[in-house]
């Protein structure tokens, strides 16, 4: 198979137009993966990859994935925060690949917090 070329972005931009929104009225979701040296050492990058895989597999748009610096809670890394529009952000801690995929399906796609992995709901904004 031929290797991807930069020009293949044309096709990807075209395909992006036909992707589905998450849920009626849900608005845009933002997933923030925390980094910092501790976060990176604890596996933050694998969490980002898991979320990216899920977004691709479900063929949806309206999700943005980003990172932030050290959150000062090194012992609970990897951590990620999920936000929807004006709802309070939910911070998830001690993540693994499987937990991230579950959070994606239940919270991002399904609209329900995954309480068992959440540190706090709405205690602080992560930017």
């Amino acid at each position: 198979m031929a290797k991807l070329k930069i020009e293949d972005l044309d096709r990807i931009a075209e395909e992006a137009r036909s992707k589905m929104t998450i849920r009626e009225g849900a608005g845009k979701a933002r997933i923030t993966v925390h980094m910092g040296t501790c976060g990176i050492a604890a596996g933050a990058r694998a969490i980002m990859s898991a979320f990216l895989d899920e977004i691709k597999a479900h063929n949806i748009k309206d999700v943005i994935i980003t990172t932030s610096g050290c959150a000062g809670l090194c012992s609970r890394e990897p951590m990620a925060t999920v936000e929807f529009g004006n709802q309070a952000p939910v911070k998830y801690v001690d993540l693994t690949d499987e937990k991230a995929r579950k959070i994606f399906k239940e919270h991002v796609l399904g609209g329900k917090f995954v309480m068992e992995y959440a540190l706090s709901v709405g205690s602080e904004r992560i930017r």
Binding site: V33, G36, T37
Partner: protein, 179 residues
């Protein structure tokens, strides 16, 4: 850190925190000379000589969220473990260059790891920074530039999941068979 690509992610985060607009990462694997070399250059705010001298001291950091800084100390330790070394060159107002060398065949040399995932995470966090990643492997060179992606976006965002997935596959495809 499990592999060198994670160290690189951490070191480039320093560049981004220092306000860099351009960051260049060069990884060269030269087996005939038994060397692996990592060079990270940025145009961030730089450090004065005293700050450079302190930069690998784990108890030195200018961050306020935690008392110890670790990233540079950890990379230096990884290099020394593999019979190598780390150097920092920095000029205030101009930028910083971090060079780490490793003995390629050393049993304690960490594997390079997933550079595609590292670049993706950097772009996701800093979509406005221009990243260049050059990978040299026994004479073969692959160069990835966010600048080229940016010129071809056609309405996509730089940090949209579609763009990030493309970058991941693009870098993986062009480098995976080499190492």
């Amino acid at each position: 850190m499990e592999d060198l690509s994670l160290h690189i992610l951490d070191i480039v985060e320093n560049s981004v925190s220092a306000g860099a607009k351009n960051v260049e990462i060069v990884v060269s694997e030269n087996r005939p000379r038994d060397l692996l070399r990592i060079e990270i250059s940025d145009d961030g705010k730089g450090m004065n000589p005293a700050a450079v001298a302190h930069a690998t001291d784990p108890f030195y950091t200018t961050r306020t969220t935690r008392k110890v800084g670790l990233g540079l100390a950890l990379l230096e330790e990884a290099a020394k473990m593999a019979n190598g070394s780390m150097d920092i060159h920095s000029v205030p107002g101009i930028g910083t260059k971090v060079i780490a060398i490793f003995q390629h065949s050393n049993i304690d040399r960490k594997p390079l790891g997933d550079m595609a995932a590292t670049i993706v995470m950097l772009v996701a966090g800093s979509p406005d920074v221009e990243f260049t990643y050059r990978y040299e492997h026994d004479g073969y060179t692959f160069t990835f530039q966010t600048k080229e992606i940016r010129a071809q976006l056609r309405g996509l965002e730089m940090n949209s999941p579609d763009t990030l997935s493309f970058i991941r596959e693009y870098i993986t495809e062009h480098t995976v068979s080499l190492s």
